[in-house]
Symmetry: C2
């Protein structure tokens, strides 16, 4: 297949951004905590001062979006207002408050040879972030990369082009004021799709890419990337109500995990109920779900207890509804629940509700998901709730970072050795 | 391009091995430390008992290798003898002695919401290892994967087919005796190159691949892999002798780093010497290198001090000689040394020799390599020297694992949450 002149120009442009980022990454790795925090606060100040310019740029994007007939949800995510800009500014100050992970030395021990060996936390280098048309992600992603000593190349959705350009100007000004290279955060200023293709195929310039967005984008990036990918795919989260559960905890957690918010990846999508508890808890839960307008789709045993429940198809067990719909399955016991999770789950987040020590211990050890909870709602699987301060995303991969990824996930550890003239014998 | 019937058959065979491995991985993740150690010791016993069979299989490989005209180095790596089988047996017992990383819970803290959040170390799942015709790697790799609770698919060099088959029988018998699934360690029994292609393109069955071998293999695997890769590319290691170095330490370390062993990835390939020290130390070093038969290739300033030294070409700064050859460059100072390392280094291992506190501190923080040493020989960059017990390889990547990769590098961490009926407000 041929390459068009435009594709070729885009590729050249992204490559030169990559080379600039690689160079900036060396400065960023050396930057001390004070300089990085100064930059974060200066960007916040710039955003506040250039509020009018950022809003004007966003209005251009919104008008173009309406003309293109973007749906209401997309337009909502695209829109900036005073409250959202305030939230971006707050976020920058919060990241400035976080402990700097870079340079932390751990596990420094003496070895029999006499050398001291330990590990030092270091930035990854250049992080590429590919995301949808949510201008606030531009600031969030930039701030986390900056604080963790990385250079970033940000490629937001094409609908947010002007908004991101205005935000990029604030970031560049803030970096400059703090004495850090402006190229430490670069925002891709072309809507050409080839930009993504170029960004994910430059291992010499990009150390990792984080795609954030729809499944199609993430699958495409994973398939075509020539650099490591930190990605979040599906969130088919389960709650298992054991027959040794405290019924009130079971009720509260099953309700909260589904109804606290519907469109989030850590919402429960399938409820597994032990045979011994089903008759007691399901009618009570069904009434509460009914009050919240949640549609129930159950297995045969569920429908015997809840005759009004719709039948669940095989495909329901794999479905990430992100909506007021819940699949319910009655299972024999803990083993059957874990078998169901292993077969249908997405490895994101699963919870057990049980007062039985040994079953809780087994569930924790044996369920292979990025977050495993005992007697707590799946909604806690979140960077802020875990104390990371902020998250660049949630990883459903097993390599490098798993679950909510914060500053630490944007770093690596190198080995350090301290000697006094030691040589190998 | 079409796929031949043989390629298609190989792909089907590897896929069914992958599915079996995925299933075995669940059992291995649950296996307790005692069972895994029992298996390691049972494999050692089997290897000892079936020594005659393993040696006979190896003789078949050696004969075929000689007929094919393999070179002496390859034949040496392929050959098994009593001492090498003893070393494999010792290695199994050593891995049994290592602390089991699986299930370790760290950083368990209370959050303001009342939940306890921590991380639990868990196996990666299925590890694919692709290596050359060294039958001892079959046992090393199997033992590390087994101890870390992973299932393994091992693809050794085609020249070692019979040796690996005989070793695989010992591993299977040992696993069975310990009550673990025989499919926890599978050795690919075809020499078809398509096996590698299949193994690295099954993300649904394989969680990570570790290629060990020549640069060509590793580059091919990195380029084509659809699963994460832990890889070791080049080892262009540097020692920088600062003008504040203790001359004796500088002399000893520069000599040891080059001459202790030549064919290893952590041997020094380029020596950087500060201007202020060059006149004093280079003649003394050149004499010692001369005694060891090391060929020197120097920059202009080096050759002014050592007129007999050959001139270094630009390409010498990027060369991993793995031989008694050393490139030498005189540099102005620490900054020039770090600039050289950033430009020409491979990110493997670099050392500084200096008594200056601030320079040592800067070198440690700013050099972006998997191992950074102060006043110690680069030869210490090794899993055994670092206390890992054994290593599956050395990673020059930044993602997931960096430097020597031991049991911990074959694991990941999931988040765990302990609550008491907690829900999100």
């Amino acid at each position: 297949m041929g390459v068009t002149p435009q594709e070729s120009a885009t590729r050249t442009r992204i490559q030169s951004m990559g080379q600039a980022a690689r160079k900036a990454a060396r400065s960023m790795a050396r930057a001390d905590t004070a300089a990085k925090n100064r930059a974060l606060r200066a960007i916040a100040t710039q955003l506040d001062r250039q509020r009018a310019e950022v809003m004007a740029a966003n209005r251009r994007d919104m008008e173009a979006g309406r003309e293109q007939g973007l749906d209401a949800a997309l337009l909502d995510r695209l829109e900036l207002n005073d409250a959202r800009i305030d939230a971006m500014i707050d976020g920058l100050h919060q990241v400035a408050e976080l402990t700097d992970p870079v340079g932390e030395i751990s596990d420094l021990i003496y070895r029999p040879s006499g050398i001291q060996v330990g590990r030092m936390r270091v930035p990854l280098g250049v992080v590429g972030i590919i995301y949808e048309s949510r201008p606030n992600v531009t600031v969030d992603a930039a701030s986390l990369c900056l604080k963790s000593g990385n250079a970033a190349i940000l490629r937001g959705g094409s609908e947010a082009l002007h908004s991101n350009g205005a935000i990029a100007a604030c970031i560049a000004a803030g970096l400059q004021q703090a004495g850090l290279p402006e190229t430490a955060v670069q925002v891709v200023d072309t809507t050409d799709r080839e930009a993504v293709g170029a960004l994910i195929s430059m291992p010499e310039c990009v150390d990792v890419v984080v795609p954030r967005g729809g499944t199609g984008l993430i699958e495409r990036v994973s398939r075509d990337a020539r650099v490591p990918v930190i990605k979040h795919l599906h969130g088919v989260c389960h709650v298992y109500l054991d027959d040794k559960a405290d019924p009130d905890k079971a009720f509260n957690i099953a309700l909260n995990a589904k109804t606290h918010r519907y469109g989030v990846c850590n919402a429960m999508e399938t409820l597994l109920v032990a045979e011994g508890l089903a008759e007691e808890i399901l009618p009570r839960l069904a009434a509460a779900y009914g009050d919240s307008g949640v549609e129930l789709r159950g297995c045969t045993a569920t429908r015997r207890i809840l005759p009004a429940c719709l039948p669940a198809a095989e495909s329901d067990w794999r479905e990430e509804y992100l909506a007021p719909i819940l699949a319910i399955r009655v299972v024999a016991d803990l083993d059957a629940a874990m078998e169901h999770i292993a077969r249908y789950g997405s490895g994101h987040t699963e919870a057990i509700v049980s007062e039985d020590y040994s079953r809780a211990r087994r569930f924790l050890a044996e369920v292979d998901s990025s977050s495993v909870l005992v007697n707590a709602s799946t909604r806690f699987a979140d960077g802020f709730e875990y104390g990371l301060g902020a998250e660049i995303g949630i990883s459903t991969d097993k390599i490098h970072a798993r679950g909510p990824v914060g500053l630490e996930g944007l770093t690596s550890q190198k080995w350090i050795v301290l000697g006094d003239g030691h040589i190998r014998q």
